[in-house]
């Protein structure tokens, strides 16, 4: 089985690109692959805990918890991008790591495929 690295830069709720990325990651995990997800720029919002699910907005927190529990998924948020937006370590959802941008590049090193989904 392979390793997929997904880098996402789109905002949460304001764009459905993050939803696509999470659903793709989930599908890959279910097929037995490992997935690394990197969120940078506005996409760091995905790592914020306490997201409330409304019918009118996409809600990904529950799905992310299931994916973390699979043991085949790791996700990291750009620390500087998050801090610049006022998301601090204590605001981060369980399971997420926070690192600098070199984490993403390192993940691509061992990836079989890299899917880079640009920002808004």
């Amino acid at each position: 089985m392979g390793k997929l690295t997904i880098g996402v830069f789109s905002s949460l709720v304001g764009s459905l690109s993050l939803d696509f990325a999470v659903k793709l990651a989930d599908a890959a995990i279910k097929k037995g692959h490992k997935v690394d997800m990197w969120v940078s720029g506005n996409a760091t919002m995905l790592s914020k805990k306490g997201q409330r699910a409304f019918k009118d907005y996409s809600a990904l927190e529950k799905k992310l918890h299931e994916m973390f529990a699979s043991g085949s998924f790791q996700a990291t948020a750009c620390e500087a991008c998050a801090e610049a937006r006022g998301f601090h370590k204590e605001d981060t959802m369980e399971g997420w790591k926070r690192h600098s941008m070199d984490w993403y590049l390192a993940s691509t090193f061992s990836a079989d495929r890299v899917l880079h989904i640009g920002g808004d």
Binding site: F9, S40, G41, D102, L105
Partner: protein, 137 residues
């Protein structure tokens, strides 16, 4: 020991979104990626500006005066200072009426020795073909 080559393809306008800034900061992050890799393994970035993205390379940017943020000019110069390969699409320059004089071609003022390359799109395509992964910004 292995090297993975990443192509950072910048097609976004400067400052309108943070895309081009993130392209350059991610490319520059290749300088510290070794902390996550085995000895001898490395990531080699190449940055190519295409389409509207060539406007990121304009000289005399006033981002600090206008927005209070570091300029993309400074990030581009830092990339050249780190000997990163930087390509600027020749056809897109011509389309936008830009001459080489208008663009940041080196980082000599901060001690850099590497120069940016104005290249036809066919050469940029070859460069893209030679990368392991492409990242579009």
């Amino acid at each position: 020991m292995a090297t993975v080559k990443l192509g950072f393809i910048v097609k976004s306008l400067p400052y309108k979104t943070e895309a081009s800034r993130l392209a350059l900061t991610h490319a520059i992050a290749s300088q510290t990626v070794e902390i996550y890799l085995e000895d001898g393994d490395m990531v080699e970035p190449v940055v190519a500006f295409i389409g509207d993205g060539v406007l990121n390379c304009l000289k005399n940017q006033k981002a600090m005066n206008m927005y209070g943020v570091t300029s993309l000019e400074q990030h581009l110069k830092n990339s050249l200072l780190l000997d990163m390969r930087v390509l600027i699409c020749k056809e897109d320059m011509e389309k936008l009426g830009l001459s080489e004089d208008a663009l940041i071609m080196d980082a000599e003022d901060i001690g850099g020795e590497t120069k940016a390359n104005i290249a036809p799109f066919s050469e940029i395509m070859k460069e893209m073909d030679s990368t392991n992964h492409l990242l579009f910004f």
